[in-house]
Symmetry: C2
């Protein structure tokens, strides 16, 4: 089975969105800076490699709804498992099937691993999904894309973490608009 890799953009002060999500749905106020690296040549190459290594995606119902299910074409072109409290029939958009999982993070990750085969399970957020996966001891790798910004407010990635984790750095990469830190979780 492939590894479970959290893959997320954050500010230097650990925010994955800016403040005022009500008025600025999605990334919050000034939060678009967190994703600027995706528009750069190096960033495009990097995210291409990340997608190529991934066989399934885990996300939250909140992110799914905020993005409108990533538009009409489904975007990911691989199975996406949406963690939610509210049951919903599967949705097919282009090459992407969205499966709504109501029985918790362990189940979502087990289903994603089965779907991904030898490829990685890509946990793309939101913060609560990442925190649940970390707290359940189900994260193998942490790939942080750190934007050169102190936001001061917003949604913290590392909140409600219930124990410490030692990490091993397995990659370090600079692109124009971010520093990419890749760690293995060693428990």
């Amino acid at each position: 089975m492939g590894a479970v890799e959290v893959n997320i953009s954050m500010s230097v002060d650990g925010y994955i969105t800016g403040p005022n999500l009500d008025e600025h749905p999605g990334l919050g106020e000034r939060g678009e800076i967190l994703h600027a690296w995706l528009d750069d040549t190096e960033g495009k190459r990097l995210i291409g490699a990340i997608f190529a290594s991934s066989g399934a995606v885990i996300t939250s119902r909140k992110v799914y709804e905020l993005t409108g299910g990533w538009g009409e074409d489904g975007f990911y072109e691989m199975p996406v498992f949406v963690l939610t409290h509210r049951p919903h029939d599967a949705v097919v958009r282009g090459e992407t099937t969205f499966t709504f999982v109501t029985d918790g993070i362990e189940s979502a990750i087990a289903q994603a691993k089965a779907a991904a085969g030898a490829k990685k399970v890509h946990v793309m957020g939101g913060a609560s999904v990442v925190q649940q996966a970390l707290n359940a001891g189900l994260v193998d790798e942490l790939y942080l894309h750190v934007a050169p910004m102190v936001l001061g407010a917003g949604t913290r990635l590392f909140d409600h973490i219930q124990s410490e984790f030692s990490l091993e750095r397995i990659g370090l990469f600079e692109s124009r608009f971010a520093t990419h830190l890749r760690y293995r979780v060693i428990g």
Copy 2:
């Protein structure tokens, strides 16, 4: 005048101490991992270069007391300005003079700049001093030594930050036990 550089070790989740400071004064429970990079050959070279570029140090009364004023020899061998609410006569230990500053962060930094001449002012913590300096717009550079650890609890470096700051990455360095991220604050 030299730049004001915050120079601090933190976990991947942004803590500069572990939890339970009452029982584990200084770095908190398991917080010593944050400073492991200082014992490595590369880390020693790096901190040597940082000290060589510094002409004065800013710290808090809390850190001063926790470290016992860095022992009998004064450690820094340069002027140290200790931000405090309680007046105290200057203390001389070896080559180090500790000056206690009661009229705020602006005054502490102005005195440190005057003492440092062309060299940098090295803001070493604690968290509150760094936050006061950032919030006053007085930090030119942020040098973060990121230990491969998710601590989950402790003292957050980036708390009570009152506005956002754009940064420019000016250095990236790997040592065995940390990743060293250096930024210029561009406001």
